[in-house]
């Protein structure tokens, strides 16, 4: 044929890890979810959190008036996609979006009508936030101020965490935030009254801002349950924020009491901005409006050189998927050059490198055995260090393939393995067998069950796991009983 298709290259389906919020939603009752689905903005946000196959299936079903036979839909599934398709259906059933049925396939009617309404507009649910009347006396906050505010709030929290164990006295976040950090196990008061960062707290610091944010919000949701707050109100307010437009002001009037109470907490986290606590209007920040997207929830840190230029383009949706500007250069000789003057980034780096020099815009350090082992003993894993270095690599580093020097990566992993030379397991030692035959007979049985951890034929004893003990014991007792 004249021209051959050039696009036969196989596209591998990108790995989709389910959003952390979804398991939480799945654990809620059908009643709660149906109430949540009454709001178009919630439906739209949840729809966006789902995986690509779920989304396509929902869209396929959205405009159908009646249920269709499940076989009709599965006829479209490619043989190699069967598993992914079944998983998608299971997720949808778990969220009560499409009831689990092998015969008919249809969307939950509440979800269907709300999502339709979200897409076509209209209705009078007001779920996308009521805009505040224009205030002619005072200028509303512009996007730059909002970004700066969100960044300041967020970095205060992180900075407090990272420097808690080092005797420094950084600015303290509000009491609500401290309580949340403590509740979520990121910090605790092990030594006296001073809050200390925990090992999960150290891991938390190396996550992406998006993961960190959801991590905290999930804790917030768990806390809301205990504080007897209406979960539907809380969730729908978060979803409403995520569909709002950055740089606009919204009115607090139509919010429920629960949601007004939430405003205070969200202000502390940097998700919303208000002029005064008593103000009748609020503006969501970028942290809030990117909740359901994968674009960076924070503007690139104000410190990194040239980030201003990146910001200008970053606000254009073109480079929407672009991650924060990287600043780390890692050499094969374990040296790290970090172009930053941001104290938070420096402090995070300090978790696993030995600092050598500090300049106004540059930090130089080394990855050493001691520094990495210190991080490892704090509960940070080698993979987390490597992924942090990867995500924050300087644009210059992006030219390398692989991105990080292999020697350094391997060495970090080896340092981790060093710590894992001993493995402990709970179990039982079986010894003092009367005869070699007895010993071998019991050992063969235990091996069948796959519970043997260690054996020594010379000493005529072996070590079995905890789970296998009752079986092995029963076996021995039966044998001695029979004999």
């Amino acid at each position: 044929m004249p021209v051959q298709s050039l696009q036969n290259t196989d596209v591998i389906l990108p790995q989709h890890t389910p959003h952390p919020l979804l398991p939480f939603l799945q654990s809620q009752s059908q009643n709660t979810l149906t109430r949540l689905y009454q709001r178009p903005s919630s439906c739209l946000s949840i729809f966006r959190l789902l995986g690509p196959i779920e989304r396509q299936l929902i869209m396929n079903l959205l405009w159908l008036e009646s249920a269709i036979p499940a076989a009709t839909m599965s006829a479209w599934v490619m043989p190699e996609g069967k598993q992914a398709y079944d998983e998608a259906l299971a997720v949808m059933a778990g969220l009560h979006i499409a009831p689990n049925s092998t015969v008919k396939l249809a969307l939950n009617p509440t979800f269907k009508s709300s999502l339709r309404q979200a897409i076509t507009g209209g209705g009078n649910t007001g779920s996308f936030g009521t805009p505040a009347d224009k205030d002619y006396k005072r200028q509303s906050a512009n996007i730059e101020n909002l970004d700066a505010y969100a960044l300041e709030r967020w970095e205060t929290i992180l900075h407090y965490m990272v420097s808690s164990g080092q005797g420094q006295n950084p600015a303290k976040p509000s009491q609500g935030v401290l309580y949340l950090l403590q509740r979520s196990g990121l910090m605790n008061t092990a030594h006296g009254a001073i809050l200390q960062i925990t090992s999960s707290g150290f891991q938390f610091l190396l996550h992406s801002p998006h993961d960190q944010l959801w991590n905290l919000l999930l804790q917030y949701l768990h806390m809301a349950e205990e504080r007897q707050m209406d979960l539907v109100e809380v969730l729908s307010f978060l979803f409403m924020l995520s569909t709002m437009d950055l740089g606009r002001e919204y009115s607090t009037e139509p919010l429920s009491e629960t949601q007004k109470a939430m405003l205070e907490d969200l202000r502390d986290y940097g998700l919303v901005w208000q002029r005064k606590a008593s103000s009748k209007r609020f503006s969501p920040t970028r942290l809030a409006t990117t909740l359901t997207s994968s674009s960076p929830p924070l503007p690139s840190s104000h410190s990194t050189g040239g980030s201003r230029a990146a910001d200008a383009t970053g606000t254009v949706a073109l480079s929407s998927g672009a991650a924060q500007q990287g600043f780390i250069v890692l050499e094969t000789n374990y040296r790290i050059y970090a172009y930053t003057d941001n104290p938070l980034q420096t402090a995070v780096l300090n978790l696993f490198i030995t600092m050598k020099y500090r300049f106004p815009n540059l930090v130089v350090g080394m990855l050493t055995r001691e520094s990495v082992r210190k991080a490892l003993s704090n509960g940070i894993s080698a993979e987390q260090i490597i992924s942090y270095l990867t995500t924050h690599a300087h644009p210059q580093m992006r030219k390398n393939n692989p991105l990080l020097p292999v020697t350094v990566q391997d060495q970090i992993r080896l340092w981790e393995l060093e710590r894992n030379r001993l493995k402990s397991a709970e179990g039982y030692l079986y010894k003092d067998f009367a005869s070699q035959a007895d010993y071998e007979y019991v050992l063969a049985y235990a091996k069948q069950l796959d519970v043997v951890l260690w054996e020594s034929a010379i000493k005529r004893c072996f070590f079995g796991t905890l789970e296998g003990h009752s079986n092995v014991r029963g076996f021995i007792e039966r044998r001695t009983g029979a004999a």
């Binding site: 696009q7 396929n60 507009g121 996308f128 994968s294 383009t313 254009v316 073109l318 998927g321 672009a322």
Partner: protein
């Protein structure tokens, strides 16, 4: 992390064809108003799927093509007022697209004869746009090598006009650029006869061509067939045409030909033997011309399949299978 995807939609806005399409004598009359309302729902569905998804809408009008909406740049100054009941980006798409279409249609005015729709212009603009965004993201931010930020560009053509044989060469060129940019071209034939060129466009870029039979189910068809990005299509299949018309148009009279004559030097296609190739100025020997002319009226099935090539001195009668037109019946070669 899953990629954001880019969609360029090209809407054929030929007033005549839409008038014909709305006639009650059709089995499923479809007016442009109903069409637009369903199209807008489809566009919103694309934006709804992912926050980062980008969308551009081009209109092919008689004699010109215009950009109706772009998610990366504001085309109109006035933002629609905020409203508690609708999601702002959706509202922005809806109002901008409708406004621009109305403006453009009003501007057409009364014409003696309607010039053909500038579909090729719109396709070319869409390709330029895609080139710009993929190129842009690879130069300014260093992260573009990161495969997660690359777009997954697609073009969807909603066509109502019949083939314009004079646009064969530009369409083919557009298809080749699309292949190079790894752009998938999808075609939905909303009204009118099948178009040969668009069928080829979809086939060659691994897209799907759908002739809309149930025109009352436009939205469902759009969503089922054209909403999913290519990687989803490997799991949830989309309908594809099984029969493609591979005929080409001749360069001399722009007719779609079953059997043509191909210049053996530059591969130009002609509907009749010529002494000199009009494209590359190659002269053909008089003997060959005579033989070809003599062979013309009685086309045997055997050589009609390959076409009868024009020949130069070197190889007088070697059939050139590359870029030789294939008659209709032999089209199913996939």
């Amino acid at each position: 992390m899953e990629k954001a995807s880019h969609l360029s939609v090209i809407v054929d806005l030929s007033p005549t064809q839409w008038h014909l399409s709305a006639q009650a004598s059709n089995q499923y009359p479809l007016s442009i108003e109903t069409f637009l309302s369903q199209l807008l729902a489809f566009l919103n569905a694309h934006i709804a799927s992912k926050h980062e998804n980008t969308l551009v809408v081009f209109g092919a009008l008689p004699g010109k093509s215009v950009m109706l909406y772009s998610s990366t740049e504001l085309l109109t100054d006035d933002m629609p007022p905020l409203d508690a009941n609708s999601y702002l980006p959706f509202k922005l798409v809806d109002s901008t697209v409708v406004r621009k279409i109305m403006d453009e249609l009003d501007a057409i005015g009364k014409l003696e004869e309607e010039p053909p729709c500038a579909l090729v212009g719109a396709v070319t603009k869409a390709l330029c746009y895609i080139n710009r965004i993929t190129h842009h993201s690879s130069t300014t931010t260093g992260v573009a090598e990161d495969p997660t930020t690359l777009h997954d560009p697609r073009i969807l053509i909603l066509s109502v006009s019949p083939d314009l044989s004079s646009s064969y060469i530009p369409i083919m060129n557009a298809i080749f650029s699309a292949q190079k940019l790894k752009v998938t071209i999808d075609v939905c034939k909303v009204y009118g006869p099948d178009t040969v060129f668009l069928q080829q466009a979809a086939h060659l870029t691994d897209g799907s061509y759908i002739y809309l039979e149930r025109r009352d189910a436009l939205l469902q068809n759009l969503i089922m067939s054209f909403l999913s990005p290519p990687f989803i299509r490997k799991i949830l299949a989309v309908p594809k045409q099984d029969k493609i018309d591979f005929r080409a148009a001749c360069f001399c009279h722009k007719n779609i030909v079953d059997v043509g004559f191909v210049c053996s030097v530059c591969l130009s296609i002609f509907c009749q033997p010529l002494p000199v190739c009009s494209t590359c100025r190659t002269k053909f020997p008089i003997n060959t011309l005579k033989r070809l002319n003599a062979a013309r009226p009685a086309i045997t099935p055997a050589n009609s399949r390959m076409g009868v090539p024009l020949a130069n001195l070197n190889n007088a009668a070697t059939p050139r299978s590359t870029s030789t037109p294939v008659p209709n019946g032999m089209s199913n070669l996939r």
